[in-house]
């Protein structure tokens, strides 16, 4: 069987599984549609959360981001940021919102800040964060299809939309939860199998996490060898190259952490478990499942980078002849992920850090994960599995985001703000309709990605960190923060962050409209735009607390609400 045929079979089987699950888990009530009836076991929710969380970017791009763009150590910001947020979520957010026990994140903000205006501001922040995020997933689906199944981008996107439409509209959170569990199994298997093979080949150690610290066949440590090879080619050392400055790295990590804890599509996953205790345990399980991929990724990054460099320059000063380049190299040249330009015409590929003489002119981040199985000569079924895994990662995250968006529209805008009199059945209809519109809207944006789509996933974290996270945290830990404080806080946090990103990256990312220029000397204390969420969060906190001092304290009922969400059950006097 050819590779394409095998891939069709594997991807087709995984899709058939998702459809089967969708048919078996239709939602009959709004409670099932929004929060899966609150009956999901904490371990199962942990898996679903892990799939919800790990997007196309985590699966396809992150290893390359670490290994290539951020040259090793600098990429640690993603590893720590996208896992450390779960500790904050488990301690500071999830248990209390689970106790509150309703359906959405804006609903809590609206009730806690006794204001429809606060609810609407939260809905707007949620939609900005989630839509920027979902565009990346739709693109991931289209790209994965076109690369592995040799369809065109549009066909791929439509197939993905059809699957998501099917289980998200039919089953809501219930359907999404069970498909996410299946998708987690597919994606984690697809990620670890090639990693184990490549680790075995390079170091003889089957566990990639240990392989990263092991020795190669020649007896030298893998990381030392990588450091030396990079230095020889004029790059910085892999294990010590800092991204920007120490302050920038700290700000970037912190922004991703608190952004994680403020992203609505992650928070609502914790509404599906039966108890507060289960919500805390579930965060631990989610983190454990996520960590399987997140501790493997740095090993894949280093090993694949070393593999590519040793292919290009087997010994220092020796270069691969263009005529002798391996088959996988040619395959990936056709997709545009690799590109060579024999500048000095010697028939050899000189790879170096100097853009003047470097002849490997295109080396895409995604290549580290996508081409890994071929570089390591793995069988066809492993390559097919990587395709199914990448699609599972993109589909599961897209579905979670779409639910966050559609429930904010049907529940917060419609039921809680505009038409409070609609019945349960009408709201369920409305939520299905909102989901259908959200899927189609996301598909449209995937087909016609706005100019700013490239830099958006990191931006979603900055915006969540600066807008929703402080409002949630203050809502739980302070009884004194008022509606005026929270609304102005959210608006100033998201405003400052957007303004900072736009002034450096261009208004709505349109090139040439950025008025301060995107280079380090103009950055605020050297903090790059993607790392600015933490500053936006500090602005939000300051404004919220200051304005709250000047305005009348919240009513007694709100103080009671805060007391109640802080404790799992009301204590009984003996």
């Amino acid at each position: 069987m050819s590779l394409t045929e095998t891939t069709y079979w594997v991807v087709g089987a995984s899709f058939a599984l998702y459809i089967l699950i969708a048919i078996r888990s239709r939602a009959g009530t709004t409670q099932e549609f929004y929060v899966a009836g609150k009956g999901i076991h904490p371990v199962a929710n942990g898996m679903a959360t892990a799939a919800d969380w790990m997007s196309a970017a985590s699966f396809i791009s992150m290893a390359g981001l670490i290994g290539l763009s951020y040259n090793g150590y600098g990429g640690s910001v993603f590893l720590m940021g996208w896992t450390g947020g779960y500790v904050i979520l488990a301690m500071l957010i999830a248990p209390y919102l689970r106790k509150y026990g309703k359906f959405t994140v804006p609903e809590f903000i609206g009730d806690r800040y006794y204001s429809d205006a606060a609810r609407v501001v939260a809905v707007i922040c949620l939609i900005i964060c989630s839509v920027t995020y979902v565009i990346g997933q739709m693109k991931g689906i289209g790209v994965a299809f076109s690369r592995f199944l040799e369809t065109d981008y549009e066909t791929g996107l439509f197939s993905g939309m059809f699957i998501v439409f099917f289980y998200a509209v039919l089953g809501g959170m219930k359907g999404i939860t069970y498909t996410q569990i299946a998708q987690f199994c597919v994606l984690i298997f697809a990620y670890t199998v090639p990693a184990i093979f490549i680790s075995l080949q390079l170091t003889g150690q089957p566990i990639p996490q240990l392989g990263l610290g092991s020795t190669l066949a020649d007896g030298s440590y893998l990381l030392q060898k990588l450091d030396q090879t990079l230095l020889d080619l004029g790059f910085q050392e892999y294990t010590t190259s800092v991204r920007g400055s120490t302050l920038n790295m700290a700000a970037f990590t912190a922004s991703l952490m608190i952004g994680t804890a403020g992203l609505p599509h992650v928070i609502i996953r914790f509404f599906t478990v039966p108890t507060v205790r289960a919500a805390r345990a579930s965060a631990g399980w989610a983190l454990l499942f996520i960590a399987v991929l997140y501790t493997t990724a740095p090993a894949v990054a280093a090993m694949a980078r070393l593999n590519i460099m040793q292919t290009l320059a087997p010994e220092p000063g020796q270069h691969l002849a263009i005529e002798e380049r391996p088959a996988w190299f040619k395959n990936w040249e056709q997709t545009g992920l690799l590109g060579i330009d024999d500048k000095n015409g010697d028939g050899l590929i000189q790879y170096s850090a100097d853009p003047e003489t470097n002849e490997l002119v295109k080396l895409d981040n995604d290549i580290l994960v996508l081409a890994n199985p071929e570089i390591a000569n793995l069988p066809n079924w492993v390559i097919a599995l990587v395709a199914a895994g990448g699609l599972a990662a993109a589909l599961s995250t897209a579905a979670g985001l779409l639910l966050a968006i559609s429930s904010a529209i049907s529940h917060d805008l419609l039921k809680r703000t505009l038409m409070p009199d609609i019945s349960e059945r009408q709201e369920l209809m409305a939520s299905r309709l909102a989901m259908a519109v959200a899927v189609l809207g996301a598909g449209y944006l995937g087909l016609n990605p706005p100019g700013f789509a490239a830099g958006t996933v990191a931006l979603a974290f900055g915006l969540a960190a600066a807008s929703l996270f402080p409002a949630l945290l203050l809502g739980i830990f302070s009884k004194r923060v008022t509606r005026e404080g929270a609304i102005l806080g959210m608006l100033s946090g998201i405003g400052v962050t957007l303004a900072y990103v736009f002034q450096h990256k261009g208004i709505m990312f349109i090139p040439g409209t950025g008025f301060l220029g995107d280079w380090p000397p103009n950055w605020f204390f050297g903090i790059e735009p993607n790392a600015f969420g933490v500053v936006g969060a500090l602005v939000n906190f300051t404004v919220s607390l200051f304005v709250s001092r000047l305005t009348a304290p919240p009513p007694e009922s709100v103080r009671q609400l805060v007391e109640e969400i802080r404790i799992p059950v009301s204590p009984r006097s003996i």
Partner: protein
């Protein structure tokens, strides 16, 4: 400790909860932003097998620590709830 009235139980629960959040939160900060970013250079002088220690914290150790911290928190809170009679009925 008199756990007789509801208000005392409430206050004890919240005080203990905040104490654990402070302890575990401090460790969270030390293993990630501390060992992985701020003090990475001195730690890199120490080696752990083929790893520089600071690099290991940034790309492996911090994540393992996060998992342990989250499970410890879940466990101590479940115990605290049992001790104070605040267990939720299983749904």
């Amino acid at each position: 400790m008199a756990l007789s009235d509801a208000e005392t139980i409430r206050r004890t629960y919240w005080r203990e909860n905040c104490r654990w959040m402070l302890i575990l939160g401090s460790i969270w900060f030390v293993v990630s932003l501390g060992c992985g970013v701020l003090w990475v250079e001195p730690l890199n002088q120490v080696r752990l097998g083929g790893f520089k220690l600071g690099f290991w914290f940034a790309q492996q150790g911090a994540i393992y620590a996060f998992i342990i911290l989250t499970f410890i928190y879940a466990r101590v809170m479940a115990r605290l709830e049992k001790r104070l009679g605040l267990e939720e009925p299983e749904a």
